[in-house]
Each structure stands twice: as C-alpha cells, then as structure tokens.
Amino acid sequence: MHQVMGQVVRNRELAAGLWHLIVEAPEIAARAEPGQFAMLRVASGLEPLLRRPLSFYRIARHYGWLEFVYKVVGRGTQILTTRAAGDRLDLLGPLGRGWDLLPGTRRIGIVGRGIGIAPLIGLAEAAVRRGIAVEAFLSAREPQALLGLDLLRELGCGLYLHTERGEYSGRCREVTEHLEEAFEEEKPDQLFVCGSRRLGQAVLDFSRRRGVRSQISLEERMACGLGACIGCVTEIRAEDGREYRRVCKEGPVFWVEEVAMLYDR
C-alpha cells in the first residue's frame, strides 16, 4: 500500500455521467491487481472529508497507469470530474483483496451490471493474458454504459449483453438464462460478479447448482479503506454462524457462498 500524489493523465466523460479517469501512479500500479481498489482524495480541503473508493478498471503497469471508471452520483464524484490532465491526485492503494483466478482455471464468466462492470474488465484482461477463455454477461441501462465492450471484443471474449434501452434491449432475458445458455454444455471453472445483489444471487444459485467456484465484489461505505476503522463490514457465513468481515480488507472480493446478504431474499 502506498499513498502517492498521482498525476492525472486523462479524465473524460464516456457516456452521460460515466467518466474514465487515468492516473499515473507507478508505485501503486506496480502492485495493483484486478479487483483491488484505491481510495481517492477528491478535495484538498475538508469538504468532502472522506476519500472515495474506486476499483481499478484497468492497470497499465508498463505505463505506471491506473484506470478508473466512475459514475457521478454525489458531491465527491462531481468534484472528481473537475480534475484535468496534469492535476495532482492523492491516491491510496492498492487496497483490499482482488479476484482469485484459481490454478487450472481455463474458462470463466464475468457477470456485471452498470458501474459494476468496471472491476471485471481488468480481470478479463488478466485472464485472457493467461490463456483463459472469458464469457462476459453484461447489462446496463443503455448501450453506452456497457463499459469496456470494445476491449472485451478485442480480447475475443464471448459477449452476452442486455440493456434496458437501445441496441440490446430486445431480448429481455434474465442473466440466469444467459448463463444457462452459455454454459449449457460445459460449466465454467469460475464466475465473477459485480453490480447488484440480484445478480449476485443469480450467480450464487447457478454456482451452487453447477458446482462453480464464484466470487463477488461488494461495496460498503468506507471511512479508512485500509482495515483500521472496522466501518465497512459485511456479514459472512462462517463455520460458527455469521460474522462481520471488512470489505476493504478481507474483501471487496468474497466467495459468493460466504456472503450472507445473498441468502436474504
């Protein structure tokens, strides 16, 4: 973990309210893994006070770059849009535990919705680099919000897309159907999901039925991001009942079958 003043390489709007931010921060990039995140300080003053957690979208290690995609939802992300190339940005990272590609894995599915697609893109890249086949199940409000689509195409991933409006809105099907269809003949070795509880539940169900080892990336309100405040807990099903674990430290990636909220229907 490092705290560095990175330099903004680029910060621009991809689609309405969706921004792509690239920051040069070689110390962090050198150690960052897909699924991990950074805490960004958006203001230099006291308002807003807390850092904002953003997952790594891509990690361009040879450039020393970290890429993020963020959705403007409140004050912090609003301020972030005002940062321009050349500006300094206080970053803390890499933080948390990233995705686990298990030894022997040959075929995976990534399941993402909306901004939840962001942390899956770096994973897809890493997987393809290791010769793992990737099927991507992505959904969003509108086609422009399907992050990293071109990249996934380039990488040769299988694509199963759904949007509420526009191009991919016709075949309005549940992700479960998509999963069944894609993996009818052969189950994937692992599934990776991020973006909504419903999606997580679908993946949990599928994974339990088919015996797939799957992971989910969770979000929780964070103060420190580095494990000190115990503020970001989620409930985990452990041997002896439920217990709280820190999303910033033991997560944000968890095994789906551990995550208590996926069982609360």
Partner: protein, 305 residues
Amino acid sequence: MTVNLTVKVAGIEMKNPLVTASGTYGFGQEYRDLYPPEVLGAVVTKTIRLRPHPGNPPPRVAEAPAGLINAIGIPSKGWDHYVREEVPRLRQLEVPIIQSIVGETLDEYVELTERLTELGFLAGIELNLSCPNLRAGGLSLGLDPDMVYELVRRVRAATDLPLLAKLTPNTADVVGLARSVQAGGADGIAMINTVRAMAIDLRTRRPVLGNISGGLSGPAIKPIALYQIWEVYEAVDIPIIGMGGATDYRDVLEFILAGARAVALGTVNFVDPSAAPRILRDLGRYLEENGIDDINDLVGAAHRT
C-alpha cells in the same frame, strides 16, 4: 536549535505529543506501509472487550459536514483472540502502547485490567467510559460522576500501570467527570470521544446508519473539543490527551494551548493516512521558527495571559 518534543503523560514518556485515537489506528499494523508506528509518541489501540461482540450492523459510517459519523459499536473478538493475534505484534512495536478497554460491568473492567497488567508489555491502559450500554440507573455509566469515580477507583486498585480515563463529551458536566476520575486515581484524561449524532438518507428517508445514531468525529467537533479541554484543564491537575478533529499542526497546537499535553489523531488518519509524520514535521518546524525550545511550555499557555 534543538526543539524538545518529548512529553510525559500520566507517567508515560513519549518522544513527541502525537498519539493515535482509539479505534482509528487498529492495533498498530494498518498504517505500517506508510510510516513506522515508532514515529509516534504512543499508540492507543482499538478498544477491546473481554467477551466477543459483533458490533453494530452496517452501514457503520456516514459522512457529515467536515465530519464523520460512526456507529461501529466496538466489535471485539474477545480476550483469547487478542492475546493470540494482537499481542505478539503489539509486543514488537518499539513505542509505548496504551490499550483501550471497555467493560459490560465494573467487574469486567477490573478483570481486563488485571489480565492486561499481567501481560507486562503495556505502557498504560485507557478506560473507555463512553460505552452507552453500561448503565447505572437510567444513566449511561460514563455520564455519572459517582459511578465513574467508583469505576476508576476499582480499576486503580487492580494495576500499577498508568491509567487514562476517556470521557464522554455528551454531558453538561464534563468537568464533574474529570474531577471524579482524578479523585478515583486516574493518571490522565483522554478527551473527547465522539459526539452523539445521526444522519438521514433523503433517498431512502431512513437513518443512514444501521444503528440509527452514532458518534460525530473530525474537524466539525474541534471547537467542542477545545472548549471541553479548556474547562477540564482549569479543573484538574492530571494531564490531558486531547483530541477531536485535529487535521494539521495548527490544530495540534491549539489543543496544546488549550491544555492538552499530548494530542491524538483520529479521523484525520482516514483522510490522510500519512498525517502523523506530516504533522510531526510541521510541528517541529513551527517550534523552531517561533523560537520555542520546549513544547511543554505551550501546554495550557492560552490560559495564561
């Protein structure tokens, strides 16, 4: 010029007046990548309990204007876990360790104190008196000067370690509490803890925190902290570890001028996890530039005209 930054608080020698605020620095491991805990005057660890406790349901934190509201609830994995997991790593640290504790009963405070004393490595014990669950009559124990006196007296009898009493600020009479803990035998006072507060989410039209209410910390409470420290300094003779919203060396100096002998960094650790070494550097520079050769000369100086 060499500036003296060492302070002695409740019998604990510290190489500088910067310490950590309980609950914001874990057990001394979390910030190690950024700076060694040894740069600090002392490490005050997260409050522990004798028995395991899950803490409050999430969400546990919410942001506020220039502040943070938390309802962590002092989760604890209990004594055995502490001894097995935390103590070995705490022993490695070459900095005074002050362990914060809370009890569900007076006996638990005493029991924890005895056990901690036996471990032999601690520089001191901080009694977290803000536990809202421990009640004496209708009142939360930490609000009742008599109960607080009794608690400190009993714990005092159980240990020779320096004892700090951490007061709640949610009272009309913090001076009464301070006098009580002094009378009970505390060697120092830590203040202020968080201020009772809550946040409401306009979207859901519900309280943000799982626990509904929580405690406000950060810059927002600095003026409240300064006031209470000022008042307590005038009323007691034991030293004060001041805290509540310090974010830079100026804040730290304001706490010292108000009467704090050491200053704890809390919420700022989340905002700028390298705050401690930064503030320490600025503090040294300020003293030098202003020709102050001993930080102790500034303690309570705002009271003297």
